[in-house]
């Protein structure tokens, strides 16, 4: 799966979790830049990504997620590890 495919699917998850399909997300977007992306919804987004991509994150990895781009890179890494 390419990074842009991952990004598109991740965008859908984030929009659903924060309840706003109008948000403009790109790789540089951070949680601070998205209204409603707080610690509670962060877990919802992580869980959504785990279900969507059939992967499982390590707890220690989650702190390193500073932007949507980091999230995409981590999902890509987990998908590669699954193979």
């Amino acid at each position: 799966m390419t990074q842009s495919e991952i990004l598109e699917r991740l965008k859908k998850i984030i929009s659903q979790v924060v309840g706003n399909d109008q948000i403009n997300l790109n790789k540089d977007t951070t949680a601070d830049g998205v209204p409603g992306w707080d610690s509670f919804n962060h877990i919802n987004i992580i869980m959504g990504a785990e279900m969507e991509f059939g992967i499982r994150f390590n707890v220690a990895e989650l702190e390193g997620l500073k932007s949507v781009g980091d999230f995409v890179a981590l999902i890509e890494k987990r998908l590669a590890a699954k193979k």
């Binding site: 659903q16 979790v17 924060v18 309840g19 706003n20 951070t30 601070d32 209204p35 409603g36 707080d38 610690s39 509670f40 919804n41 877990i43 919802n44 992580i46 869980m47 959504g48 785990e50 279900m51 994150f57 390590n58 707890v59 220690a60 990895e61 989650l62 702190e63 390193g64």
Partner: protein, 531 residues
């Protein structure tokens, strides 16, 4: 040794810096070793016998982490090693911090009958260096701590700017800085920026926090017999004392690290500007919030979510959340995390209540966001948005001030007595209620009221409010110098300006440094040192 002592300022810091950069010219390992030696000296200055504890803790955790890294591929072995590491660390913390209180409590309940079991002195910074190293072990097990250098590891734990009271660092954000050669070469701009931040932090400690401490101390000494207004002044004064004490410490730590070419994560970002409790905990002791979120809240929250998913229950989207879902998925992990965060600060029952209160506040804040009325930010008028902001700010500050009573009081009883005094139930001879308020106002206008002598305190507190709300914080002042590893959250201040390496700032900081030095007593500990 204290950052605000003459020995530190005149001898320790200049000599540490001088030999660090001199040795750095020859070999970076020599500079590293020097920094380790001075950091141990810094720690041992207070009580040399605890150096053995610190060294044992470092050796144990390095060994444990090393084995975890070696057995990275064998998950079962590394998980067992991690469990052993965490249990040993928590046992040490429990022994020094909680055992005696527990024994006294069991004795009071009549469950044990021994009369004396000696006393235990709390080693300085034990909560900080223990948590830093538990974080390292968890990171090592999940493959997020790769570097294995022993000298760098010792430096990561002992580096004196963070050893006693944080910020709580992640191995992965500091170790890459310690292995870089450039860290040990002198960059004058870093030294100047570091000194400037340090002077501002020292000013907050000695010129503000230490000056308002007597007001809070006086009122918290006897909480039962307080006049209503006196009690409120005491609560506000303590909130500001703690604020400026911890802001001062965090800035000094940031500045000291910068003098040695090291960047720390932000730890304090104008928390009293917060307009919600959620926002407050993202700005107050940021590295502690980050730690508890990462290693306690996230694992429990994820575990609950995964269990639900495995049972075939759906993950609810925004707008679909039910109260049951909210209680299980959010309120439970929040309460567990915040109560442990409270107890992390100390063994008394008042710290449990401090954590519980904050959990309660956070749950209300989250519940309001999820179930409260949805108002579009775009459609609201500017005036309405200003009032909402002011209401959120006032409510947040007041809630935190009430919680801080439990943080400061000697016991839960003392804390409740002060709260009773705040609502006019004090037992002293001074009148409470509306009469007390009127008399304190009369006093302000020169009408003598014998028991009331806090008019100056009120003016000071009003001035400090304005100081916090209108001026930029250190992270904003030095934003261009990329002071911290993490980004600033605060909106630009009312009076927005930046530090510049020019004569005006030089003169201001020189005068401030002189004032700092004149006010340094060398005896006033930082409030967070006791944790």
């Amino acid at each position: 040794m204290l950052f605000n002592s003459i020995t530190f300022l005149v001898l320790f810091l200049p000599l540490s810096l001088l030999f660090y950069y001199l040795l750095g010219c020859f070999h970076m390992n020599a500079a590293k070793l020097w920094l380790v030696v001075v950091s141990f000296l810094f720690y041992g200055w207070w009580n040399p016998q605890f150096l053995i504890l610190l060294m044992t803790s470092i050796l144990f955790n390095y060994g444990c982490g090393y084995l975890i890294q070696v057995f990275e591929e064998r998950t079962r072995v590394s998980s067992i090693l991690l469990a052993i590491g965490i249990v040993v660390n928590l046992w040490a913390l429990f022994f020094y911090k909680y055992l005696l209180t527990l024994m006294n409590w069991l004795h009071d309940l009549g469950l044990i009958h021994a009369h004396s079991w000696g006393s235990v002195v709390l080693p300085l910074g034990i909560s900080f260096f223990t948590f830093t190293q538990i974080g390292f072990l968890i990171d090592a097990q999940s493959g997020n701590a790769k570097e294995r250098g022993f000298l760098e590891y010792v430096l990561f734990v002992t580096f004196f700017p963070h050893l006693i009271a944080g910020p709580i660092l992640h191995h992965r954000e500091i170790m890459p800085q310690f292995v870089k050669k450039e860290t040990y070469l002198i960059y004058w701009e870093n030294v100047i920026v570091g000194i400037s931040i340090f002077i501002l932090g020292l000013g907050k400690k000695v010129l503000i926090a230490d000056q308002i401490a007597p007001i809070a101390d006086d009122i918290f000494r006897h909480t039962a017999d307080k006049h209503m207004v006196e009690a409120w002044v005491g609560v506000f004064a303590y909130s500001f004392q703690l604020y400026f004490d911890f802001a001062g410490y965090s800035e000094m730590a940031l500045g000291l690290a910068r003098m040695f070419n090291v960047k720390f994560p932000a730890n304090f970002d104008s928390p009293f500007k917060s307009q919600s409790i959620i926002d407050f905990w993202n700005r107050w002791h940021i590295s502690l919030t980050r730690y508890f979120t990462l290693y306690l809240y996230n694992p429990l929250s994820l575990w609950i979510m995964r269990q639900r998913t495995a049972s075939g229950l759906p993950m609810l989207r925004a707008g679909e959340t039910t109260w049951k879902y909210f209680l299980i998925v959010l309120a439970l992990p929040t309460s567990y995390t915040m109560i442990l965060m409270g107890v992390w600060h100390g063994a008394g029952f008042q710290f449990f209540i401090f954590g519980l209160l904050n959990a309660f506040y956070l749950c209300i804040n989250h519940a309001w966001r999820l179930f409260g009325p949805k108002v579009s930010k775009v459609s609201g008028s500017r005036l309405r948005s200003w009032f909402e902001g002011a209401w959120g700010w006032g409510l947040t500050y007041l809630s935190i001030s009430i919680a801080l009573i439990f943080f400061r009081a000697k016991s839960t009883t003392d804390a409740f007595l002060l709260i009773r005094s705040m609502f006019g139930g004090g037992t002293g001879d001074s009148p409470g209620g509306a009469q007390g308020v009127v008399e304190s106002i009369l006093d302000y206008f020169g009408v003598a009221v014998p028991y009331w002598n806090y008019s100056n305190a009120l003016i000071t507190l009003a001035f400090l409010f304005a100081f916090i709300l209108c001026l930029p914080n250190v992270l904003q002042l030095f934003e261009k110098e990329e002071t911290s590893l993490t980004k600033v959250r605060s909106a630009p201040a009312f009076f927005s300006f930046q530090w510049r390496p020019n004569i005006l700032w030089g003169c201001f900081l020189a005068i401030l440094a002189l004032a700092d030095l004149l006010m340094v007593t060398g005896t006033s500990e930082f409030l967070y040192f006791k944790f």
